[in-house]
Amino acid sequence: MNTDEPTLSRSLWDFFCSLKLAMTLLLSLAISSIIGTVIPQGNIPPEYIQSISQAKMKLYQALGFFDMYHSWWFVLLLGALAANLVACSIKRLPRIWKFVTQPVTVLDDAGRKALANLATISSPQTAPALKESLVRILGAGFSTPLVTEKDGAYHLFAEKASWSRLAVYVVHLSILVIFVGAITGSLFGFKGYVNIPEGESVTQIAGKGDQAIDLGFAVRCDKFSVSFYDTGAPKEFKSLLTVLENGKPVKGYEQLPVIVNDPMSYKGITFYQSSYGKTGEHIFTVSNPDGSNPVVVKVPSGGSAKLPNGGGICLQETTQDVAPFEPGKSGPAASIEVHSPDGKTRKTIVYANYPELNLQSAQINGGPLFGYLSGKESSYTGLQVARDPGVWIVWIGCLLMVVGICGAFFLSHRRVWVLIKDGTVVIGGNAHKNPAGFELAFDRLVQEIKGELSPGEKK
């Protein structure tokens, strides 16, 4: 910063370097993040839309509350945090860097007096002999010292964990690295999902906003199965997947089991077991109760269809063998919901092998007579699909963050200076953290030096 520049840029710079801004941003991010945990994000359920007023809905939409973590103001807060990190590092790092790489190895008297820990020992030994002893003791008990000879005196300097002063900047850097990883992922990666019926294959998946994404190869679902514990809770969802290139299975990617917590990766694209369901078609006959005007109606699995009378039929559940559910009966059966044109809804079960029961139901409830011919149904597996080339950058950032935080909290830069002159040894030292702990270590070191220099006094 040049002093000739206007003060505006100077004060703007100071603002971006300030700790106050860091505090404000951290607390603003904390408070604003709450919004997205209370208001639904992404696909908003219709019940929620009904539960709030029009005005509120418009306000939330304008403020981007329904996708707040990607809204301009939230991204701006994150950007400001990044700017704050960069600015404060540019301001402070050069000084710290010089401090670490070019330590003060020779202290003057004023510097020595300012030290928190200081001790003086007298000794009849010669200065070179004292120097030799101290180099040995410091080397063994603390850290190998650097010796400077100046004006007939010896200056020794030893330090430990000097780089721990950089740890906090490593943490700051790690946040920027994670941001870079996240941006890389969103620019060059994708996330989507795909449903594959058993026995079929797909070459495309649905990405954001149901936009189709080409995989560049095909994936076939050979089989999907669910197993349960005795308690009835699900134990395992498993898909057997095969990767196909030009219609041929790829070696090593044939009938690969994919379960929750154990995905499959191929060419940087990963497939995760996520959901499942049934797909197929069911054939019903609809006629007047006396059997006249029969019409065939096809209903997809879990879906619905229109009836000739203007009403509708909605499929609840089907089975190709009703025996386990209704002992004594056999054959296909379907549980359906019938909507009559006047808006009434009733539930009933339609059998393939028991037309008399179907007729009974029609007579009791009124309305058309249903018959269930058969259905073809197969399972499909629902897979999450993702490609994220930025994820390794994120992990490097996370590693830097954990290492940096531990270094910043648990390591302390400790320094010891020794002056040997005219039969006296002056030892001084300080630490940039945990001064009480260093005081104890320093006192031990001084005692050791005293014991070594005058062994006669030692008992």
Binding site: L26, L27, G36, Y229, K235, Q384, D388, C398, I405, F409
Partner: protein, 281 residues
Amino acid sequence: MTSSLLFNITTIAYLVSMLLFFTFLASRVATLGLLGSVAAFSGLAVQSVAIGLRWQESYAMGVGHAPLSNLYESVVFFSWTIVLIYLLLDLRYHYRVIGAFVMPFALLGMTWAQLGLSSGIEPLVPALQSNWLLYHVVTCFLGYAAFAVACGISIMYLIREAAGAATAATGNGMVGSFPPAKVLDDLNYRAIMVGFPLLTLGIVTGAAWANYAWGTYWSWDPKETWSLIVWFVYAAFLHARITRGWVGRRAAWLSVIGFAATIFCYLGVNLLLSGLHSYGG
């Protein structure tokens, strides 16, 4: 001997410990404080055995997994980590009276778990069948526990400050037995210094697990977001330490707010909000 019996003994030990600490606080008889610590650490030992036993029992049932899979197990584990962190603090700094403000958290957890939560051992749902479960839950809860201890210390700081310097100086009453304000402020920082790296590790292991299981390390799910909120609050606390005017009372409040956010992240999200992380409820 069953783990259930041992968990009941643990709860009683924590109750006895808390009562001893309270009488120590009122009477300032050093023996009571010592007994309070002895009760707390005996409880911790019994609880460690109980957790190990429950782990073994799950294997005997054929559904073997670490006892960290539902709300009951997590609350029990949370109590255990709180007493563990307090033990470490006590061994290192010897301020016994802090137990009076930390043991209530552990007792509350154990009482709720034993009386209000279903304690059956259940098989793991597919989503939790991963080794990441152990790393993620252990790091998160050790972090939470350190924040609980920091919150207890901050409450002591605020009480001491409210009682006024005069009362503290005479050395009378409850506040007289508290460590000096400066020491409390420092201990608060030290507890958070332990909790913050652990929470960071907890979030990172959670992200790694999410990426491995779902293909996305961060999806702004309420649980994830709240853990980040907690992280922001304690990051602000750490920066407050080097900001003029933020040491002492404001730092103590930040620590209390941080723990409130932690508890919401742990319980509030599961009980009040919906999301991907609904195993605890």
